[in-house]
């Protein structure tokens, strides 16, 4: 048995199938993964993402601390803005990937992956040294709900938050929704417009019900981890533990776009990352779609011209496309590029696939 979020009993009442994920008992699906997936693409869905961790960082040296632990330039993070970051080690590889929000002049909120909460917190403490910074892991006090899909903003209006009061893309607001204090941010993990709501446990069930009721006219569905995974895969968003791990750098993972070239401060792994940006890497992330009929899955082998050339890190059926897609790492010596034909080893047989652009599905963010 894993840990349970505050919504566990609600999931059971809603008919969810429960699976263990990252040490948590979470709903994998309520009705059908495909139906849930399509609901988010076409209207809206509600996710319990309370397994994710919340770490608050504050104090005179908060900025200095963050500048040291991620390659991104937190100095440029404006008040109430969010940024996608990686937590890097000295060798450039990843402890985790994160979203950092700037809540106040000297106060930040870090959202960390469920299975990495303890590891990340330990890493933060280890990197704190003499800095004047307070690091609080408040993960157990907060629940988190994601409201995602093209109708998400309309559901918030029904719940009492007018468009003008809604945060813009990658922005967070502290507000009160029917007397419930929430952090409301316009972020997510689906490739759709949408929000994440961070709320103290004691208000969480009430907030869920308010959103559910507000979503009724848009056929808002509860969404399990199954569709969360297929949605993020179509959007080519990384999953730590699959696509990212302690043997992978952000440059290898195709996250160069997120790393500023002009950040003045030193950070963990800067030397390696700079060197990789300049000279390239031995492996690189690709996205592909199957041209033969087969489903690629995590850890299947990638072949190029009959030789083993890499490994699939995420793969599956893409409900929006009706295709089988995947991501994985290949050795750069093969010069595998867009439209290259590769093969995937599925149950001891090779099936053809083609390298395609990521994301697989257009993102529909409201920027």
């Amino acid at each position: 048995m894993g840990k349970k979020t505050v919504f566990y009993e609600k999931h059971k009442l809603l008919g969810a199938k429960i699976v263990e994920f990252g040490g948590w008992d979470m709903p994998v699906q309520y009705s059908s993964i495909i139906a849930e997936h399509k609901a988010v693409r076409n209207s809206a869905g509600l996710f319990d993402v309370s397994h994710m961790g919340q770490v608050f960082v504050s104090g005179n040296d908060a900025l200095k601390f963050l500048q040291k632990i991620v390659p991104q330039d937190i100095f440029k993070l404006a008040l109430h803005k969010a940024i996608y970051c990686q937590l890097t080690m000295k060798n450039g590889a990843l402890v985790d990937d994160l979203i950092i929000y700037r809540l106040d002049e000297k106060k930040y909120l870090i959202i960390v992956n469920a299975s990495n909460i303890d590891k990340d917190y330990g890493w933060f403490i280890k990197n704190k040294n003499e800095l004047d910074v307070s690091i609080e892991n408040n993960s157990d006090e907060y629940a988190m709900i994601a409201l995602q899909g093209p109708n998400a903003y309309k559901i918030l209006i029904n719940a009492g938050i007018q468009v003008n009061d809604q945060p813009e893309f990658f922005t967070i607001k502290e507000l009160s929704l029917k007397n419930i204090p929430v952090y409301l941010s316009r972020t997510g993990y689906t490739g759709e417009d949408g929000f994440e709501l961070i709320v103290k446990n004691e208000y969480a069930l009430k907030l869920w019900d308010i959103l559910f009721e507000a979503g009724e006219e848009y056929n808002l569905l509860p969404i399990g981890l199954g569709a969360r995974d297929s949605l993020r895969l179509e959007a080519a968003l990384m999953l730590y533990g699959n696509d990212l791990n302690e043997n992978t750098t952000p440059v290898e993972a195709g996250l160069k776009w997120s790393i500023p070239s002009d950040k003045a401060e030193d950070y963990n792994g800067k030397k390696v990352i700079k060197e990789q940006i300049q000279n390239g890497t031995d492996k690189t992330l690709i996205g592909f779609e199957m041209t033969d009929r087969a489903i690629p899955r995590h850890e299947y082998e990638i072949y190029y011209k009959g030789e083993p050339a890499g490994v699939v890190t995420s793969g599956g059926y893409a409900p929006t496309l009706g295709k089988n897609i995947g991501m994985g790492y290949v050795d750069t010596k093969y010069n595998i590029t867009l439209d290259s034909e590769i093969q995937i080893m599925v149950r001891n047989k090779l099936y053809k696939a083609k390298v395609v652009k990521r994301p697989f599905v257009h993102k529909h963010y409201k920027k």
Binding site: K17, Q29, S32, I33, S230, A294, I295, R297, G316, P319
Partner: protein
């Protein structure tokens, strides 16, 4: 869900159903397809292949994962359900009728099926 009379089920959730011509349909129980969720791909064997009891003869993939399907008895494949290639969801909708996987000629079915359970006993077993 209408469960046909006379089916025998394995603990790994395959069913065996005798046809009027003396051959057998092999498929997945309603419980199995319910547990798998949306089925998106089914790989079936070639006609003529001979399998022994307990061998993997097919793979059924849901959105989440690939599952191997085992022969409940030994036999020779005499037909495969081609419709499932284009429309794997048939298996979710109709596991006992339109969603059968293969038909086999199984001379030793009687002896082989000793460990298979009648549907009611199977239901008791899994609950």
């Amino acid at each position: 869900m209408m469960v046909p009379d006379g089916i025998l089920c394995s603990k790994s959730h395959e069913y065996l159903l005798e046809n009027q011509d003396g051959n057998y349909n092999i498929g997945l129980t309603d419980y199995a397809v319910e547990q798998l969720g949306d089925i998106v791909f089914i790989e079936l064997p070639e006609i003529g292949t001979i399998f022994t009891k307990g061998e993997v003869f097919a793979t059924v993939e849901s959105v989440k994962a690939a599952s191997e399907i085992y022969m409940p008895v030994s036999g020779k494949v005499v037909a495969v359900n081609d419709k499932l290639a284009e429309s794997p969801e048939i298996l979710n909708d109709s596991p006992y009728e339109d969603g059968w996987l293969i038909k086999v000629e199984a001379e030793n079915a009687l002896a082989d099926s000793g460990d298979l359970l009648e549907y009611d006993d199977y239901k008791d077993e899994i609950e």
